[in-house]
Homo-oligomer: 442 residues x 2
């Protein structure tokens, strides 16, 4: 195969579609390892930033982008007609859910249609977006086989083009692992497909793990995230059960963690966030319906995790009630807007849901997040809110302070000294060594 | 405290009630570390064996028992009136479920009543049996406070006697960890209670982990086993879902395992076994009802795990059906009777349930297990079956061979060469490098 030679000689040009949390770091890895990379994105605002070596994602440094650009290896464009310039096309577009919790395949399908329009012989396409088993062979393959450049004749997969699924495993801000050091599962449609995609990824990823089919690779990513979703839901349920029994779930988890085998700690929280855990599992649920089976664990995990913001609001009511206060009319300060600590990622953040529920019940809510100066507009929410300062006066003015995201930068001692009531959904205060009668876990 | 001094000088005599999978290895640890140990058991048959330095549990060696006896440190009796001879009483009795899946507290309660009868001032009692949060303070404490030797005056906990809960974490045949090297959680009723129990366990256990109350210690053990039960059920559900989609769950799990963080592999099987995972979670379910809450994950895990033997039987029917055979009238050979590999432990083994279901549906079933020459009588089952030999003739005579327990000793190649059809619930044949058209996963 000519492509295989080109890859082995680092002469293959790598195209990345979608320059977000997944595509951008991956593209940079290729560029810094000596490949020419051309990034594609529909968002025009990203292009001049990238060309100028500037980042728009907190945990990806401008320096890294600048290095890749300065090497002459990294360019970005919104012009998809340039797709024939690249030898490998890596699709890193979002796969959200629609409002009925069904897969929203628009990004994948639209991207695939665009690729189909420009597909030329000898190209490799790999999909990295999390999706249901079957996507690669049931949606992408038939589209590409009917590429428009072949005058009605079919492109043959594994000969005229190569197709694989290789799930991203990004974990923003993980101190131990990043794009290049996380092993990567790859499932090709044919043997040639797996050979070229493995050869390509081998240049930038510490270890590639070939599996027998794209469907197995698709299922692998789902298993990983279903596992997380279910285990988070389990501790969220136990948090509620143990709370009724007067037992602190956080202490129980710390004790269980001392078992040196067969236990892995997960922690409760105010609800799931991020682009993966709250969403991915339902891709399997949706596909399973086609086979007339249900995925009960995924449904139950969804039910319990989705309930968590409401649980926090109910706990807030009970706690305020101890002080003879109603939620309605109370002034609340929400600490943390991002979906997890020390990042600025707002996708699916439970803080947004908390604000909605608090407001619905008559509370006045403001927020602070050192990494989120202004709440962004999302598909669902459009708050006009900016982060307030954490001063002594500010803190003492609120009926309650609700900790939603346990950023490491917070001065928990200062907050505890100045807040009237604290509702802690992350056990952050106790972890910081602070125990007070006015701090409640939720 | 006098007891603390006695413990520190190794002059305390340790009494162990229940000389089974938990009590026997623990008692031996104390004896081998220089404590005088007196074991109590209601089963008369155990006593002469122990005195003669002979084992009745495969993974505990006779040599270890003999060493302890020869040191003059280990004795055993059925005479509970000797309880006043010991300074610490460690309760290691079973906590099964009754036929309505409610806690069967008979063993704990009867043991506690016996202790109450003989309790003398200055004794420590710790409970190791897995149970619901509250057992120690709601059942044991009031009983012991009314010890019969005090002429109607109450014994005061933490002064007249010491009481703690410290869950066992035995994992038979774990190559990396055994009794002494697994950290141990301890929750005392009072500070004195925690001090003496930690001092005692510190002599034999690598690390003790004190927690704030017996209830937290009780909940810790439940969390550990609920986590396992739920995660096994999750992969069992996914096995069924992926099977419909033509995806091999075992391959998916192997691929997911290459993620270096945030994933822990669990494996599907023919059903749960052992004394912990199928039972313990329901202790929390039962207790939660008192607080008018439900434990949905535990219920769902129970439902799915309990269904697995039936699933294997259904798969057997479908597989035989491919060969135009009915289950009714078929001759089946079940490989493996113990609940997990390389041990002889039959407690709650799904193999017993499989035999029942196969027989119910008209199949003729025999079994082989190198460690279980004869099926024991259990509360539920009483089969008159002995393990048959695995010869070429034997193997080829059966319509299907069903692998239930993947003992390492099995010669998988030999079995695969001689069996007509193989139904593998553990993926053992593929793991042994054997792929054949007549091997099916279930």
């Amino acid at each position: 195969m000519k492509l295989l030679e080109k890859i082995k000689n680092k002469e293959a040009v790598v195209g990345i579609i979608g320059l977000g949390y997944v595509g951008l770091p991956l593209g940079l890895e290729f560029a810094l390892k000596g490949f020419k990379v051309l990034g594609f994105d529909v968002d025009e605002s990203k292009i001049p930033l990238l060309k100028a070596g500037k980042t728009y994602i907190k945990h990806i440094s401008s320096e890294k982008i600048k290095n890749a650009v300065d090497l002459g290896n990294f360019d970005a464009t919104t012009d998809f007609s340039r797709l024939p310039e690249v030898d490998a096309i890596i699709i890193c577009v979002p796969t959200p859910l629609n409002e009925h919790r069904d897969p929203d395949m628009t990004y994948i399908v639209n991207t695939a249609k665009t690729i189909k329009k420009y597909l030329r012989k000898g190209q490799l396409i790999t999909l990295e977006s999390t999706t249901y088993p079957g996507t690669t062979t049931e949606i992408l393959q038939p589209l590409f086989e009917n590429a428009e450049q072949n005058n009605g004749e079919k492109f043959i997969v594994g000969e005229d083009f190569y197709l694989a699924f290789s799930p991203e495993r990004e974990d923003p801000n993980n101190p131990n692992f990043s794009t290049a050091t996380i092993p990567k599962v790859v499932g090709g449609v044919t043997k040639n497909c797996i050979d070229v995609s493995v050869a390509l990824y081998d240049f930038v990823i510490v270890k590639t793990v070939p599996v027998s089919s794209p469907a197995v690779a698709e299922a692998t990513k789902l298993l990983e995230n279903i596992y997380r979703s279910v285990n988070i839901a389990l501790v969220n349920e136990l948090k509620m059960v143990f709370n009724k029994m007067g037992i602190d779930v956080w202490e129980v988890i710390e004790a269980a963690k001392t078992k040196p085998f067969g236990f892995n700690a997960f922690y409760p929280g105010p609800g799931l966030g991020g682009h993966c855990i709250p969403i991915d599992p339902f891709y399997l649920t949706w596909k399973a319906r086609e086979f007339e089976i249900s995925t009960k664990f995924i449904e139950l995990a969804g039910e319990i995790n989705t309930f968590q913001p409401q649980y926090v609001v109910e706990r807030t009511m009970y706690i305020l009630n101890k002080y003879q206060k109603a939620l309605n009319g109370s002034k609340l300060l929400l600490l943390g807007a991002a979906y997890k600590k020390d990042i600025d990622d707002m996708r699916e953040s439970p803080s947004l849901k908390l604000i909605e529920l608090y407001k619905e019940n008559g509370a006045e809510v403001v927020y602070n997040d050192p990494y989120v100066p202004k709440l962004p507009k999302t598909r669902k929410y459009n708050y006009e809110k900016t982060s307030i300062e954490l001063t002594k006066e500010n803190l003492s003015e609120f009926d309650a302070v609700v900790l939603s995201t346990d950023h490491s930068d917070y001065d928990y001692k200062f907050i505890a000294e100045n807040a009237k009531i604290i509702i802690d959904t992350r056990n952050a205060f106790e972890k910081a060594g602070i125990k007070q009668d006015n701090i409640f876990k939720a």
